[in-house]
């Protein structure tokens, strides 16, 4: 390669070197400028990334959107130097953004008017920059506030020394849930990194909002009944705990209403679960409406809202704080009855229900919520027992009665276990000249360890309610059969004396009743003709076809049947003809009243009927010789009562 400029003079060469040097210097300056820009961009990126990192960390730690937004506003303003940041929450329908009172202001004093105008501002779509985000769901930039037209707050912003502002969305996917807005006193230079970081911050905050929403949904689910949307027992317990604390602190009256739907089970069974669900939902809405219309307006302003909860299948509870008086509560309960008694349209027709309402009022003492609920339940059961659409307010007497009953229940269980029962026998005599004994009615007695001998009136009802009656009835039947066998040995001359045994409703209605009777007969080896089963009129007519079938079955084995308490029910006489009874017992109320012509006519009519269908008649409760004579004259064949003999233990009763 030849030399490029071989003959260059030193001076020219120097000049060329100087140019070369100058180019080198310029190249260096350019390299420095490029490097500086790179460094600056890198620094900026790092700063934005660090901001995003801090906000992301904070958001991950947050369970509430509001906390996360407060943190984000502070971090963003600290990094950028923007003097004011504000958060707005978007309404569920997405048509309104309302200042959440979450804001950050640098040098608050001078900004106070602007902060005041902003922190709880309500903005509609298109109104100002937040409104712009609301309508478009995208960031809204306002880099020259002084020249913004038609924005009220912009004017105030400019007066407060701001030159630029913008708002960014907080989204759960595409749903706008909140808006962050910022105002700066110095110009804002928008670049890609900043836009992307702010967008990412919006996304991170959206995650917090989504988590909070999911958590709230889970909590709501855990505290609410999915079918009716009402609070559940857990929710009630939580709210009631708060109400109780307030009650302790202020002495305000707190009341719990336990509401049970009579007839709900029947609807569920007959019309199906779908109809049942419809009824429950309709009931829930009615309760809410009634609370809103009746209860709420009567309460003091500022009282906590009454709560209605569904605590069981068809059981609802209303919690009322600041309940003014018992009258008030009764008035409210009346309204509830009225509303709940209206028919509900369901698929299969109309459902008619009635409510039983029990109220527990907590005035001075310090009960637990469980106690209150128990009291209300107790009052509700009492109301239920009094008939349809009844209300009972819990009282200490009711509580005491219940307590006694509970004790008795427990003792009764033990009594059955330890066999503390004994049968007494009252003679049944023929109303002929000799008044000779034809049989006995077996009557159960409880040999109570501390209270002595108790009569059926003191425990049969409880035994029925707590499901012990079938055990007791089984024992009575068996014992009576054994006694009848002994009786036959004692008086073998025919006709054998019989023993009448009362059969309780649940016992008779049990599907295996006839079978149990048969087994008892076999086990005890009694002559079946000696056993007379007494069924009350009300049990007999509940399902006449079944009654006829069961009675027919036991009669086939020779067992006799007797219709007890005749005349007290509502049965028409025609029913009686269809039922296979051997005997009917005239209720003692007619015997007591025998001196009246009316009672005599009734007894006469019963006699005529009995004769026409070939029934023997036993009159109960004869206490005087005159009553016996009258009944004999009216054609009554048999009688029992104190006049002929009181119930007494077996050895005594069978002695004569």
């Amino acid at each position: 390669m030849t030399q490029f400029s071989p003959s260059l003079e030193p001076e020219a060469r120097l000049a060329r070197l100087a140019r070369q040097l100058d180019r080198e210097r310029q190249a260096r300056a350019q390299a420095e400028a490029i490097a500086e820009k790179g460094l600056r961009d890198l620094y900026e990126n790092q700063q934005w990334l660090a901001l995003l990192q801090r906000v992301t960390d904070g958001a991950n730690r947050s369970t509430r959107l509001t906390d996360a937004m407060r943190m984000a506003l502070e971090e963003i303003c600290a990094k950028t130097g923007w003097a004011f940041g504000n958060a707005l929450l978007v309404s569920e329908e997405g048509t309104l953004a309302v200042g959440a009172d979450i804001w950050f202001a640098e040098g608050e004093g001078s900004l106070l008017p602007f902060v005041e105008a902003t922190r709880t501002i309500a903005v509609g779509p298109g109104e100002g920059m937040a409104g712009d985000v609301l309508s478009r769901g995208q960031a809204s930039w306002h880099l020259d506030l002084a020249n913004e037209a038609g924005c009220e707050r912009c004017t105030l912003a400019v007066q407060s020394g701001f030159t630029a502002g913008f708002a960014i969305p907080v989204l759960i996917r595409s749903e706008l849930v909140a808006i962050l807005e910022f105002f700066s006193r110095t110009p804002i230079r928008v670049d890609e990194q900043m836009q992307s970081t702010l967008h990412q911050i919006g996304v991170q905050l959206g995650y917090v909002a989504e988590r909070e929403r999911n958590r709230a949904a889970l909590l709501h689910e855990a505290r609410h009944d999915a079918l009716t949307g009402l609070g559940n027992r857990k929710h009630l317990a939580e709210l009631a705990a708060g109400a109780l604390t307030r009650h302790w602190q202020t002495g305000s009256r707190l009341a719990l209403l336990a509401i049970d739907l009579d007839g709900f089970k029947a609807i569920n069974d007959s019309l199906g679960h779908h109809a049942g669900d419809t009824v429950l939902v309709a009931t829930a809405r009615r309760l809410e409406r009634c609370i809103g219309q009746v209860l709420r307006p009567l309460q003091d302003r500022g009282s906590s809202l009454p709560l209605v909860a569904r605590v069981g299948g068809d059981e609802f509870v209303v919690l009322v704080e600041d309940a003014p008086s018992a009258d008030f509560l009764n008035h409210f309960a009346e309204n509830l009855h009225e509303v709940l008694a209206q028919p509900i349209n369901v698929d299969g027709g109309q459902a008619e229900l009635a409510a039983a309402i029990g109220i527990a009022v907590c005035i001075r003492d310090r009960p637990t919520i469980d106690q209150l609920l128990r009291d209300a339940d107790l009052a509700m059961y009492e109301a239920k027992s009094r008939g349809r659409s009844q209300t009972v307010i819990f009282s200490s007497e009711l509580g005491e009665a219940t307590r006694q009953r509970r004790i008795l229940e427990a003792e009764l269980k033990e009594a059955i276990h330890k066999c503390q029962f004994v049968l007494h026998y009252q003679p049944i005599v023929a109303l002929d000249d000799g008044h000779h004994v034809v049989g006995y009615e077996a009557l159960v007695r409880w040999q109570h360890p501390s209270k002595g001998l108790l009569h059926p009136g003191e425990f049969i009802e409880i035994a029925e309610e707590c499901g012990l009656i079938t055990f007791l009835g089984g024992w009575i039947l068996e014992e009576a059969c054994r006694a009848a066998a002994r009786l036959a040995e004692l008086y073998p001359r025919k006709p054998l004396r019989f023993i009448s045994v009362n059969v309780a409703a649940p016992q008779f209605l049990a599907s295996n009743f006839a079978d149990r009777v048969r087994k008892t007969l076999m086990r005890t080896g009694v002559t079946p003709e000696q056993i007379r089963l007494e069924i009350t009129e009300s049990v007999a007519i509940a399902d006449p076809d079944r009654t006829a079938a069961v009675l027919q079955q036991v009669r086939e084995w020779g067992v006799q049947t007797s219709l007890d308490d005749f005349g007290t029910g509502y049965s028409s006489l025609s029913y009686l003809k269809q039922l296979p009874f051997d005997t009917l017992k005239i209720d003692r109320s007619f015997v007591n009243d025998l001196q009246s012509d009316k009672s005599q006519s009734i007894v006469q009519a019963i006699m005529d009927l009995a004769r026409s269908i070939d029934l023997k008649v036993v009159a109960e409760g004869i206490e005087t010789a005159g009553q016996g004579d009258t009944l004999a004259k009216l054609g009554c064949g048999y009688a029992q009562g104190y006049w002929f003999g009181r119930p007494s233990p077996e050895n005594e009763a069978f002695a004569s």
């Binding site: 420095e32 460094l39 600056r40 620094y43 900026e44 110095t186 110009p187």
Partner: protein, 179 residues
């Protein structure tokens, strides 16, 4: 000291004293002369350059620093116009030094030790600038103030109320603009 100061000094010296002046100055001061705006260099090097210039021009180092500051400012305005854009006068520009210019410097040089200026309005309307620097370069600051005022077409009077060179705990300048 940031390399950019050396680069500015080189440019000022070259522009005002000719192509060869900078090379002579570097040789005479016995400094390396290798300076890039991206680097940081020992303060002693800039002081050596200033001392050498002062001796050869028969001026005080303070005069040299002030001249340098005054002359460097237009070059800064060329290089970094963005810092000047938002200002209409020297006063607001000077007030933005702590908050805008220094953060920018730190973007380039992490951990750069920038002087912090304390600003105060004096009762007589002058702007008081308090300044503590281990390098005690209040004359350079003085020069920059004059240069900035010139950039905005203003004249400024600078009084050194206190100076660390005189044993005061800090340097304090009082600035008064004629318009």
């Amino acid at each position: 000291m940031k390399g950019v100061i050396f680069n500015l000094l080189e440019e000022v010296v070259t522009r005002q004293m000719g192509t060869d002046a900078w090379g002579e100055l570097v040789d005479a001061a016995g400094v390396s002369g290798v300076y890039t705006s991206l680097g940081s260099y020992d303060d002693a090097e800039v002081l050596a350059l200033v001392e050498t210039a002062a001796v050869s021009l028969n001026q005080s180092p303070g005069d040299i620093l002030r001249w340098f500051g005054r002359s460097a400012l237009p070059l800064l305005a060329e290089r970094y116009p963005v810092f000047f854009e938002d200002h209409k006068n020297a006063r607001t520009f000077i007030l933005s030094v702590n908050d805008i210019i220094h953060p920018e410097v730190r973007k380039l040089y992490s951990g750069a030790g920038c002087p912090h200026f304390h600003f105060e309005d004096a009762a007589d309307g002058r702007l008081l600038v308090g300044y503590r620097s281990a390098r005690q370069m209040c004359q350079l600051a003085h020069g920059f103030v004059e240069g900035a005022s010139g950039h905005f077409g203003q004249e400024v009077e600078v009084e050194h109320l206190q100076c660390m060179l005189k044993g005061d705990p800090m340097c304090r300048l009082a600035l008064a603009w004629n318009a």
